[in-house]
Symmetry: C2
Subunit: 460 residues, 2 copies
């Protein structure tokens, strides 16, 4: 019999819990910027529904997935684990390459996993409207999809650089019934302040987060929904890695390398944390776990580990993370979902403890890998996901040199159907490689408090 191409689980085999690694990783508390004290339920309940607040602060090992959420998940989950035979052939590598494919969700990426959970808990808690930020639009369109299912209104602040690059993403949100405006916008104090300083500001996830938070804090019936970074978001994504572990067992292989792209870090953590838990239980025996970030927005490899704000204007609690500084505005990468100044605190803890590795790759290399993947596997990957592919290709070529038959497993977090203008630009040779502005980075880092310093002033 032929070896299967993909490994599918039945709906009955779909995991029933999310994995919370707060205890294993000894998660750092988020701090109130005024008092320097850990934030508790009271501070967070203004913007999040009760159950989300509980999950953000939870030390439970596993959290059950509600039946209503599970039922919606079954529209596309369990997602397939695919043997990338075409890519292996194209690379002539002895390595075995598998990818977990999250692009099968209705909105086209892993973001739907947490969008459905958050929309559900908000509906339960009486929320009328959600506000959020989005980069490339994968999060915004996923939350628009989930909001449509639960009858919630939605306002999305989309980073202006991506708003221009990805009109089809806007149209997708609109089709689902969501309202989408470019950020910085004139609708919030945060947006107006930034536009006054720089009318051509391309925006950033930090700025858009400030705008969404402001709306959620001011307007009654409106709450905020986060697409990455926070503990509860990473939590909801762990269904990915749990499924992948079951599927690798079906294929009767063990992963040697577990690879994911990192912006805020939710798809990476969702994919990698279940593997990490298993590895910790086995006393450190297990795969190398690698997060891949853009060379032009390198929070893990160039950032400082410190308490910093999650948004640009300082509306969030302080979170302990590798950060380029909350004032850092990344260049207009086509992987808009990775244009974030920091990384999830739980991933920062794992990095700090040497449990995961980080690498940074240039944008051009990522598109090259993306086109190779499209031509050998047929799937056009999201520009974000091409970062994981670029690292996979590099490892597979290393295996070819070394004659090693390692097993590489990466998370294909989403498809690139709404990013075709970026591919066209690349194919026409018109895509410039995004470069890191070292001067801006130094200036931004200077505004970051020293590591572990609990007290900082809210930026003026």
């Amino acid at each position: 019999m032929r070896e299967p191409t993909k490994y599918l689980l039945s709906e009955a085999q779909m995991p029933t819990v999310w994995n919370n690694l707060a205890v294993e990783l000894d998660a750092s508390p988020h701090l109130h910027p005024g008092t320097g004290q850990p934030v508790g339920e009271a501070e967070l309940s203004g913007i999040f529904p009760r159950e989300i607040v509980r999950q953000e602060l939870s030390r439970e090992v596993d959290i059950p997935i509600p039946e209503e959420v599970r039922e919606i998940y079954t529209r596309w989950r369990p997602s397939p684990l695919v043997r990338a035979k075409g890519l292996e052939r194209a690379l002539q590598t002895p390595a075995r390459i598998f990818f977990k494919y999250e692009g099968v969700s209705p909105s086209g990426s892993h973001k739907a996993n947490t969008a459905v959970a958050q929309a559900y808990y908000n509906k339960q808690d009486g929320t009328r409207r959600l506000a959020t930020e989005t980069g490339a639009g994968q999060w915004g369109s996923s939350l628009a999809f989930a909001s449509a299912l639960f009858g919630l209104e939605l306002k999305v602040f989309m980073v202006r650089a991506s708003y221009g690059q990805k009109p089809y993403r806007r149209a997708l949100m609109h089709t689902y019934g969501g309202v989408c405006v470019p950020s910085p916008s004139t609708e919030t104090a945060a947006g107006r302040k930034i536009l006054a300083q720089d009318p051509d500001c391309p925006g950033s996830l930090g700025i858009a987060t400030s705008e969404a938070l402001e709306v959620a804090m001011k307007e009654p019936g409106t709450r905020y929904a986060a697409g990455s970074v926070l503990n509860h978001v990473l939590l909801h994504q762990t269904i990915i890695g749990q499924e992948a572990i079951l599927q690798l067992a079906m294929a009767d292989v063990e992963a040697d390398e577990v690879i994911g792209c990192v912006g805020g870090g939710s798809n990476f953590a969702g994919f990698a944390f279940p593997f990490l838990r298993q590895k910790l239980k086995r006393g450190g025996r297990g795969p190398r776990i690698v997060g891949v970030e853009p060379a032009a927005c390198p929070s893990m490899t160039r950032g400082r580990l410190a308490y910093d704000f999650g948004d640009t204007t300082g509306l969030t609690p302080l979170v302990r993370m590798h950060t380029l500084g909350h004032a850092f505005i990344p260049p207009s990468l086509h992987a808009g979902g990775l244009r974030y100044h920091g990384v999830a605190p739980l991933i920062s803890r794992a990095l700090e403890r040497g449990l995961v590795d980080a690498v940074a790759v240039p944008q051009i290399d990522c598109f090259e890998a993306g086109v190779m993947f499209a031509r050998s596997e047929g799937i056009v990957p999201a520009p974000e996901s091409t970062h994981a592919i670029a690292a996979t290709v590099a490892e597979a070529l290393r295996c070819r040199e070394a004659g090693e038959a390692r097993t590489i497993v990466f998370n294909l977090s989403g498809h690139g159907h709404f990013d075709m203008a970026s591919y066209e630009k690349y194919l026409q040779g018109e895509l410039e490689d995004a470069t890191l502005d070292e001067k801006a980075l130094a200036a931004s880092l200077a505004l970051v408090p020293q590591p572990h310093a609990p007290k900082v002033a809210v930026p003026a």
Copy 2:
């Protein structure tokens, strides 16, 4: 236990043959326009590889799917059959609605099923390059995907109306490595002739077919690949309906209505013919089978059953079909894949014999149904597929009135990720309803030979 959302088959359960209904339907032969005699292998072998010619003329009941094709199919097949619980709730209907989802293919539609088969047979037969036409681009991008896998070059003539509307589809073909030009083009005699008469001609599938055929006939190493209409194309799609029958059995239900959209007819036939075979075997007991076409391009409901050309300039054999006339240029529908002047001869035979029903629906109703589907099921359907949804919604609402719990099964032939500009136009209220030009239709029908007349002159 909760009723499952989707019904999945294992790779081992994937059908091993394609169903050929040539005998059951008593297929009419294609005729040579000069001699009026049935065309044979000799005439077709100039433009198609041997095995495709054999399949086009075959009277075998089943044709085995080659192992190499099956292996590629398993990248996305068997495709899911999904219970549309969200749509049922939105419609408050007692009807049970299922859809077969072909949008899971790498290129996003059912077209990949025949693209892979045709690329395989061409590669086997020494073809270096393929030429084809495409409307909305679903066929062109599917063939680009398949050509990339088999290392074939590809030239695609894309109907100009769609070329402008769907830039992301062009970029997708380009990403797969295909070359795409708007049709009518200046690269062929057929294109130049039409542009001389009307420089603003929006093009049509018939014109683009003429251009692709001309290139295939003139240039060495180049063959033509058809995306619909012909027997072998419908044949390759029958894996859809075969899978759906197995999946309905898993769900323990029998279909009462089997619905698909119809342009050239390949997704409809691929979905419906296995049901039709079963129905014929049961002496006519079985589901009502309904093809849905655009009101502005109504070949089944307004066309004449006659021998006509498959392309505009008369390069194809004469095929017996319901036709609006080979000179008919449909209005610039957003469902570009349905802008064809005729319908597959095998479907015409089924219509003629009363084995299937045909309905025509206006474009605006289709987009309305498409948005309702997106908001209740999460999937944005291709504008072509919304025709099947509009008919499903109408039947489900009839069931609500009548209190009937019928089982409706439709084919969701593809997703609309590359058609978001059309959705945005609809949502902004800027989408005009495409209307049938009665005068142009009358003029075009006047050029169609009388029914069954075997001899016609090639148009000047």
